[in-house]
Structure formats: structure tokens, C-alpha cells
Symmetry: C2
Subunit: 125 residues, 2 copies
Amino acid sequence: MSRAGDVVTAFWTAVDARDWGAVAATLADDVVYVVPQTRERVVGRDAVVRFNAEFPGDWNLSITTLVADDARAATTIRFVLPGEDDQTGIAFFTLDGTGRIARMEDWWPEPYEPPPGREHLVERD
Amino acid sequence: MSRAGDVVTAFWTAVDARDWGAVAATLADDVVYVVPQTRERVVGRDAVVRFNAEFPGDWNLSITTLVADDARAATTIRFVLPGEDDQTGIAFFTLDGTGRIARMEDWWPEPYEPPPGREHLVERD
């Protein structure tokens, strides 16, 4: 696996395990975490660790897709919260020169109804 | 750039140019296009080309992020429709053994308001 693939796998594994020391070890001091859909930005290792540690609920997660080269990675995760529908999270990561995560962009798409007019081309699950 | 990076760049460039012959050349005969948020599935090169060709509006698009290895790629695109807010599309691609797109998974996240309780960690743009 690529370096970024290893680092991102270690990051998500540590988040799922709530091993905040191991999460911190994957992050650059000045990591920037952005949520474009809410226009939120969290800056710095301690704040990013706390953002994850304080996320409410008895959740767990697993990686469902991983694409990576040496310095960048993209993942989908399945995020499971008991009693709620599973969610898919999508993240893009950029590593710094030391192999730590310098930037993470996090996306949470929601189900929607397809627009009319394309039924002749489409099957639905 | 990786092989998948080249193929995916050619795909999006051809879609933006509405060059449907060039789009078709990047796709496997039995390509599967899926939209997990709507549970839609489009199967086969001709149907996938038509799905894109029939998409309404005077849109254009450009690649904003590309992560790829030899056989897989992830992209974000900026999708611009005059008179509407720009949208971000996220896609994951898998190539077949001949270097054509065998599977494309397409996501369209929408803006949302952040949940309360994390303001102490977050800046907003």
C-alpha cells in the first residue's frame, strides 16, 4: 500500500478504537480539518483530536473504499450509530513531507430523490 | 500521473466538452454507474453516455481534486450551472484490465447546518 494509504488506514483504525494518542500520531501539528458542507474549519492537532473525541454517540466506523498515492488519499467510511441508518462519509487527505496528515476534507452526503426524466436509463436498488 | 489519473482526466474533460465519442472511449462496454444517494444504477456504455448527454442545463465542470493509483481514482469536480450555486461532485472510479472505466460511483453532497456543541473547536468561513 502507498504511504498515504498506510497513514490514513492508521488514522481511521485509531479513531474507531478511540485511541486518541494513536490518532494524534498521524496528524501534523498544524493539521487543518475542513467540512465544506458546513463551512467549518478545525485547526491544529489538539483541536482535531478533540473534535473526534467529543463527537457524540456510541458510533463505530470502517473503511469501505481507499484510493491513495504517496502523498494523498481518498476514503469512504461506513459510519454506524445504533438505531440510525448507516451513513457514508467521504474524506480527502493530504500528507506533509514527514508523512503526517496536513489536511483532511470531510464530506457527508445524504440520500435524495432523483430528478424526473431519466427513468428510461436507470435501475433502482 | 497514474494510468487511472489519465483516464479519469480524459473522461471529465470529454464530458465537459460534450464530446460523447471521447467519453465512450474511456468506458468499458459493461460499465456500471451508481448513485448511492438515490439508489440509481446505469449499466452499459451507451446508457452511461446518454445519462450524461441528456443531463439538462447549460452546465460546465472542472476537476478540483484527483487522487489515483493505477487502477482506481477519486475526484472532486466543481459543477457550474448558470444562476445556481456551484456544486461539488465526488466520484470514485475503478478501471478494468484494459484501462477503461468499469465502475463509477457518484456522490453529490449538499450544504447543511452543523450540529450544536462543537463551536469551541471550530471556525466558520
